[in-house]
């Protein structure tokens, strides 16, 4: 099996995902320090990063390859993404030139481009990322797009495997507070992953924060393949009952998508959605806390949980490196 793109876990047959996880495990046990000798990964970050930035550079190096990083607007020209526009503003370069040029310098390209957060339909359609992907004729990796983050999803799957969390167990995706409205990429990716792994998935979120039906439907389709299920509720205590995993995540209001003021009014009363130890009372005693990081301590999740035995957030982050090495190996070895 070889991959040509890694853009969405849903693009891969379930067996190929399992193969990737086997490969990740194999590379952990039997490193291949020369597998990607002479290969170059280009990394384009239109938004900030810590784990992705560091782990992809480290992963290429551990496989014998190399990488370069481009952060448009920081030492590099800001990039224009709109088609047909008269470029008399701040952006000096269009993606129609910038991306093919960068692709021509490397063997694979990774792109991070968060949601614009204004037009829900456009973001759900991945209009922006698709336009960029169409310009790249090399193996391409989605480093987080408007509504997807397949590297995070694969790392989370491996984390659940590492911890031997039973596929049929209850997995709660639980909305948590944040100072601002964040994108839907990680909630959508984690939801789909948990459904495809076969969990009894419950989305716990306040009124106004229901995940869009396109995202729910995609997860339900994955659940049908795996024998899992997907439901949603605004009753967090009910959701947590018997849960084996709580995946805490922040996202913006979908009822008022792109309206920061309305979102802020709504979230002003939702501080009690913070995940603390008390919230785990109805859950399984060994219920895990997952989060993709970065996490706002004592806003989204309380110190007591992050610093306690439930938290597996550091393992999730380390597994970013582990699974991405498998992805790079499949794309480039």
């Amino acid at each position: 099996m070889s991959l040509s793109r890694f853009l969405d876990l849903a693009d891969l047959p379930r067996d190929e995902i399992l193969d990737l996880l086997v490969l990740a495990e194999r590379l952990q046990l039997h490193p291949e320090p020369a597998a990607l000798a002479g290969k170059i990964l280009g990394l384009v970050f239109l938004n900030p990063s810590l784990r992705t930035l560091a782990s992809f550079q480290a992963g290429m190096a551990r496989l014998g390859g190399n990488s370069f990083v481009i952060t448009p607007g920081q030492g590099t020209w800001a990039l224009e993404t709109r088609l047909g526009v008269r470029m008399d503003g701040g952006a000096a370069e269009h993606i129609r030139e910038g991306l093919p040029v960068l692709a021509s310098y490397c063997d694979a390209l990774g792109i991070r481009a968060f949601a614009d957060g204004k037009d829900l339909a456009a973001d759900l359609d991945e209009a922006n990322f698709k336009a960029m992907a169409a310009l790249v004729d090399k193996p391409l990796i989605n480093l987080e797009s408007a509504v997807n983050h397949p590297c995070q999803a694969l790392a989370d799957w491996k984390t659940l495997d590492d911890l031997a969390v039973a596929p049929r167990s209850r997995f709660v995706l639980s909305w948590v507070p944040h100072p601002r409205a964040l994108p839907l990429a990680v909630p959508a990716a984690a939801l789909h992953m948990a459904a495809l792994r076969g969990h009894e998935v419950v989305v716990a979120r306040p009124e106004g924060y229901a995940l869009p039906s396109a995202i729910m439907d995609k997860a339900r389709a994955a659940a049908r393949i795996s024998g899992g299920s997907v439901t949603e509720t605004d009753d967090r205590a009910a959701a947590f009952a018997g849960a084996q995993v709580v995946y805490a995540k922040e996202w913006g209001s979908t009822s008022y998508y792109g309206d920061a003021d309305a979102d802020a009014r709504l979230r002003a009363d939702l501080g009690h959605w913070q995940v603390n130890e008390r919230a785990f009372a109805p859950a399984a005693s060994d219920c895990r806390l997952m989060h993709c990081l970065p996490v706002r301590r004592n806003v989204a999740v309380a110190d007591e949980v992050l610093d306690g035995p439930r938290s597996v957030v550091l393992r999730e982050a380390h597994n970013r490196l582990v699974v991405q090495m498998a992805v790079l190996h499949r794309l480039l070895a």
Copy 2:
């Protein structure tokens, strides 16, 4: 043949340029992934970059070497360049320390330092770049200085070779609009390159934007070596007549050098200098469009041209990698 510096195409005998292009071709066909094993390139960017930043890192990696990037003012101290100054302002470090120190950490150094854009005579004399070059006792590469960009010029030469553009054919350097006054580095380098390759070169530019005589004279001296010619005009249609290549480029007014307001008044009426398909009517039917990138779409050049069959801008950009690997090989192998 070995090089010790790559600062200006005019420093090299014409035969050495041709040798570099042969080497570039050879490295494309027969990669040498260990040629620069253990070698380190330091890259100092006093101004933004995309192609140069990515292609030099990629080129070193493809030849088995490594590189580091320094962007003064971004994670690194801002650099003072003036001699004898009392350093009580924003810049914490002087180039008299910064550059020799960086040079002592690597095997070759690249420096990008755009024109100050205030004093034409100082910029034409490369006063700033010369002061920096004098501080570096390692192989040095000009990554674009006040009035030069030899890496771009060499990549453009290779592009013309790749496309089998006849050396005696008509090459038009055509001024195009931009929101701001840009430096003279690329127009000067492209003009000199085309003249040295032997083209019938015409500079088409509006009144107020004539290239300085030092730049025109240098190109004419190159034309004398190659049997080419260099003329200029403000009649764009006449210039394009029979042209085989149009090299579109933005630059600031030379009549009002360093006077942004006067330049802005002048360029307000020059939008029709944008290169669109109509402009090519008097040119050869297969006339090419070249541009160094980044390009302001629908300001400098219309989408229809950039997205059409004339455009070779992506090939030019890719050739940056190709020819720079030859330069690195000559400097370091």
Copy 3:
């Protein structure tokens, strides 16, 4: 001998420091381009850098390894360092997650975190750096903390060795002017290093700038081991009498620590503490000028000294690379 951390020269037995210097010398004469093959160094810069940034990347590459750079707040989330805080401000990520995650991607981590400059006791205790170091379970390198800079100190020791400066000779740490109050890290590290090398050390500083007793006492303890001595004075001419080395360094008022206004008032009258040629009159004729760089020319040190034969600042900076390769070798080979 192998090291697990390189945080403070005072942590090492004197013999181990001498061994490191021997190793540095050996690696200069007999490079080991594959010693760290497959090894990855993570570099976290909470503050600007030039020498450290470039020399650690170059050093890893020269030993066959690789590195990645993280600059929180620049393309990466800003990091919160305070414990127990409600993270509703600008910092998106806590060091309690960020640092263990980065450590899990690499084989050794380097961290730069300057003094907060508000609470002298907290800075002297290295409260901030200790909190970070406690989170890292990999080999760790101090790239400059509140009151320490062991890489600079080791490079300076090697510089004195290179120049055959006699261990018993007079070494003056001389306060020099700067537009702002700078941290105590380099003065503290240079003072301790000179004392441990066995010099007759004199700290020359104006009233209001006495080094804290914790720093003086630590240096005196080192002097007792080596047979050197440590004194202080506000009579610069007396201090320079017979000096073999003048180590010029800027630092903020310790009498008004964290009070920028009071410090500014005090330093307004201290411009005559600049080191110029005249100041060397009472010193040994071949007295050296050392400085860690970056240096404010004609504020801290006059051009005539920096550009003259006394100055060894470039050798000090180059020795950063030389000794750090030995440290990396000990930590990782």
